[in-house]
């Protein structure tokens, strides 16, 4: 075990090219997914937070429940859609990084929408009277609140990124874990461990944990600094 650990640290320190390639692909896939999910999920959360329409409560419950979607289930659903035997098969996206981005976007979209909905609804409770008094309509109010709660929303986005970076079920199924093409940190750890080949798995595991810790630290610090500076 210690031998594996030392070899792992060696890979890290010398920036082993295979390791770097895998890490960069993981980051690129998860960052893309969180970018798209934020673009779609933040306005969705804001709209639900300030909107009033029939079925709103049901929608909120469903959105909250979807936060707990198991990654393998998401992988299965996206696979069935992208498979050549499926409705979107002719685009040939299956087993490419694009498929992984799609699957992770689907996975974290509910998280971002549900958490932003909560944050903005809490803010709306505080701001509603004042904003209406100033003459802001619902759409204006939603945009205003999106900016005003930006620090909470950043924490939400970081949470989404953390979830995407750590999952293995979805990207394994829709990516196929293809060497040099769709092999990311989590799927490589799974593969190397099953081969009994631990150094690369350990090295990637260390990096993955470091990334998760960094993301959480960033979220915490953002909240603290924002609170102190902006009130």
């Amino acid at each position: 075990m210690t031998e594996a650990l030392t070899t792992a640290l060696g890979l890290l320190v010398t920036l082993d090219p295979k390791l770097v390639e895998i890490v960069l692909l993981s980051l690129s896939v998860s960052l893309s997914a969180v970018g798209i999910a934020a673009l779609l999920g933040l306005p969705l959360g804001a709209a639900i937070a300030v909107g009033r329409f029939p079925g709103r409560q049901t929608l909120i419950v469903i959105l909250n429940a979807l936060m707990g979607l198991p990654p393998v289930v998401v992988g299965l659903i996206v696979y069935l859609l992208l498979s050549r035997a499926g409705p979107l098969g002719s685009f040939g996206i299956l087993f490419t990084p694009a498929a992984m981005v799609i699957a992770q976007t689907v996975l974290i979209l509910p998280i971002i929408a549900a958490l932003s909905r909560q944050a903005i609804e809490d803010a709306w409770r505080e701001y509603e009277e004042q904003l209406r008094s100033l003459g802001a309509g619902r759409a204006d109010a939603a945009l205003t609140l999106l900016w005003d709660t930006r620090f909470s929303l950043l924490t939400t986005i970081l949470a989404g990124f953390g979830r995407a970076a750590a999952e293995v079920g979805a990207v394994m199924i829709v990516g196929g874990n293809i060497d040099g093409v769709t092999r990311v940190m989590t799927t490589t750890i799974a593969l190397e461990t099953s081969k009994g080949d631990l150094p690369l798995a350990l090295g990637l595991g260390i990096i993955l944990i470091a990334i998760i810790v960094a993301v959480n630290a960033a979220a915490y610090l953002t909240k603290e600094l924002a609170q102190r500076r902006y009130g």
């Binding site: 690129s28 893309s32 490419t96 990084p97 060497d179 099953s194």
Partner: protein, 274 residues
């Protein structure tokens, strides 16, 4: 839009570009044991250098690989379970089967060898001994080529393993690597392909007990997925791969692949009956 969000969007587009960019590639459905042996890492760069076609290998168990191809999600299948391959052909999913190479299985077991099978040349005899000794035996249980081969050997030994197994027979439902890990952890016997065994690093007390029996030979076949049934199949690129792998050049690349000085796969495309 927040500056941070703008940057994320740019990153998203930048990451997506390589995926959108047009590249010549095919998807080959193969087995985990073949992938993990490292063979593809050795022969595919040579193919890509010659033809410019990138081969993307999706490694699954044999049954799953064939199912993937049945859905049209692969262009070529490269597996080692002849009866399953024939069935695939009969269903019209494949164009033609070409034998490519063979490797062999070996019976792995603990140094302590409770069933006393070490050094034997008869695999059926060894299996009978393991059963009578109720020695721990790990099965892959995952419909893979190796699993099917194992089941066939029990049958040949006159044992109806489904009925006659006891707590000593561990049906794990795992790939070759994880199954070897399990065998190593519990000091049990296991049937493995030689390739995975040679690359396997977590051996513990395990060694090769029985090898060389002709019944342990493991034949690989390659098939182009039928473009008439699956119009999205890249038939020209796929056919190029099939042609190369059975060509003298491809066969030579296969033979040259060694681990620890040992050749793993023996090309036999010139044996049409294989």
């Amino acid at each position: 839009m927040d500056l941070r969000k703008r940057l994320l969007l740019l990153a998203a587009l930048a990451a997506a570009l390589p995926a959108i960019a047009q590249e010549k590639f095919i998807v080959v459905a193969s087995t985990t044991s073949t992938e993990q042996s490292g063979l593809f890492g050795h022969i595919l760069p040579a193919f890509q250098k010659k033809t410019g076609i990138q081969v993307r290998v999706v490694a699954l168990g044999t049954g799953q690989a064939l199912d993937l191809a049945r859905r049209g999600d692969a262009d070529v299948v490269f597996v080692h379970a002849r009866s399953a391959e024939q069935k695939f052909l009969a269903e019209g999913h494949g164009v033609k089967r070409f034998p490519v190479m063979y490797n062999d299985f070996v019976l792995i077991g603990p140094k302590s060898d409770p069933a006393k099978v070490a050094g034997g040349k008869d695999i059926l005899d060894a299996l009978k001994k393991i059963k009578s000794a109720s020695a721990p035996f790990v099965s892959r249980g995952d419909r893979s080529g190796t699993h099917i081969a194992e089941l066939d050997l029990w049958t040949l030994a006159g044992i109806d393993i489904a009925k006659e197994k006891g707590p000593w027979y561990k049906d794990t439902g795992q790939g070759m690597g994880p199954a070897l890990n399990t065998a190593s952890a519990m000091n049990g016997y296991i049937l493995s392909d030689r390739g995975t065994w040679i690359s396997f690093k977590n051996r513990g007390d395990l060694v090769i007990e029985v090898e060389g029996d002709a019944r342990l030979f493991n034949q690989y076949g390659v098939m182009l997925v039928n473009p008439e049934k699956h119009p999205n199949v890249k038939k020209d690129l796929g056919q190029a791969f099939v042609d190369w792998v059975i060509s003298p050049e491809g066969q030579k690349a296969i033979a040259e692949y060694k681990i620890g000085g040992e050749q793993l796969f023996f090309p036999n495309a010139n044996q049409p009956g294989a």
